[in-house]
Amino acid sequence: MTNAEAAPVLQLSGIGKEFGAIRALHDVDMQVFPGEVVGLMGDNGAGKSTLVKIIAGNFRPSHGEIRFAGSAVHFNRPIDARTVGIEVVYQDLALADNLTAAANVFLGRELKRKFGPLALLDHKAMAARALELFGELRSETRPYDLVKQMSGGQRQAVAIARTRLSNARLVMMDEPTAAISVRQVEQVLSLIHRLKEQGVAVMLISHRMPDVFAVCDRVIVMRRGEKRADKAIHTTSPEEVTALITGAKEAA
């Protein structure tokens, strides 16, 4: 299911990145469409994380151009990428264990009420909005519960709810299923479906072949800093992707 006629939300052309003498990325072109789930696969050192960090604004590309929602963008800091609507769910989820679910969702962009010169936190509004977001994600998570008491799936829901707060148009998830149980993997995959239903583009960075084939519409394979394949999921197979990742097959 690719919306070929729709405009891509993210378009990379000729992206390259050098760290000193090391060429981490070379001439990467790719497009991501709204409501599409794209799997980004590759072995360690293939350039996946560099690519993600460039899109997320952690690094500036040495070459090439990023277009987001039709216009060229230049990110100096992660906050710039977030402003235009790119959110990242980090592998370790970046949650503060000692705070509540609602506090984590709103971390760094708290809702406030004015009392004269004072701006105090609006706990009620934040909890209500967080509960709404958890509901959209079908997660049984209470806004006032502490994150340290939560299961892996709930924590994932909190991290993803954070991206829904700003109505992100592209969510990148870095290894979201790496360290959680089978049942929780199911929950995370269904969370990805929820995002997709709402027209959000998702980039799933994962080592787990079954997960990629379960939720992705398209898979992109990176190897040695270059894009080696970009195929609709139903035109490929786990075996072919494995061959592309390891280099047994050069390109497809």
């Binding site: 503060a96 000692n98 936190l121 706990h123």
Partner: protein, 360 residues
Amino acid sequence: MAMQLESPVSFSNVGEIKWWRRGIFASQTGYVLLALLVLMVVMHFASPYFFTQGNMQNVAKNFSFIAIATLGVTFVIITGGIDLSVGSLMCFSAMITSMVMSGLSTPGMPGASLFVHLAADGKTVVANLPGLILVVSIVAGLAVAFLVGLVNGFCIAVLGLSPFVTTLGMLSIVRGLGYVVSNGRGSFPGGPDADYFYALTSGDVLGVPAPFIYLVILALTMAVVLHHTSFGRHVFALGGNEKAAELTGIPVVRVKIEVYVICALAAGLQGIIISGWLGSAPANMATSYELNVIAAAVIGGANLAGGIGGPLGAIVGCVLLEVIRNGLVLAQVNSYWQQTLVGVIIILAVLVDRIRSRMT
């Protein structure tokens, strides 16, 4: 891909945590508060003098003398840092305040001509509003505290030095500076405004000691700041997961500098108040008070690993330390036991919390 419709979220698998297993009831602060109340009841039966008005005033005054600094250190501890320089800073701020006060009140000293002049009969006359010298000297004492806090914060947040090492160095630097400016002699608040100074620092209002009133106001302010402002939220987030705080766009460097400045200002204010009670600022004042302050914060439930703590805990810790000291005196126990007992309580308080968190 078609998704099947699911029932609304039901919370069938996720129970609600019972009220007695969360908030203050499940915190070290709660247990220590309970222990404190039990201890006070025991004291009441052990000594008829314990609950007398005079003794209560005494206790309130004595714990207020470290509690304001404990509030400040609690801010730092919540972010996962530590400030060892508070003891030295108490002394230095107090010293600067009393030196400025004496200096500005003595005709002929630099700057003094703006504030006082000699009358024809040789008496010193205030040239300006009464109380102005007091305000200027307290501002001077707090300004040096502000600077010290800024340097601490800069070294820790911007240069990335460890809080322990930075503030250990600052402990020595500030104590040394105290000896340098005073030549080791200590200084006395003097001049026409000294009476106001003593009234503000060691006086009382309707029997309530002034330091206790400041403490209550500051603790309430701290509670609001920690739990109802985004700054407070960021302080907790920083202690919970600094990397997450950074990734979510919290201005980590600014928040860190701010907590060290708050801590230094609290220590400075505390030092100024203590000097009013002592009637002077000797060069060895408040030596090793940083340990009492940190001990009180930790007993009250602040976690040195960061992320947990609050004003109630800080005060409960200070009160417990003072009640024990007071109790040992009333029970005519050799007062040298006090330090040993405090050490035992620090370990016990943390141990009880560890056992409790293992059980749940």
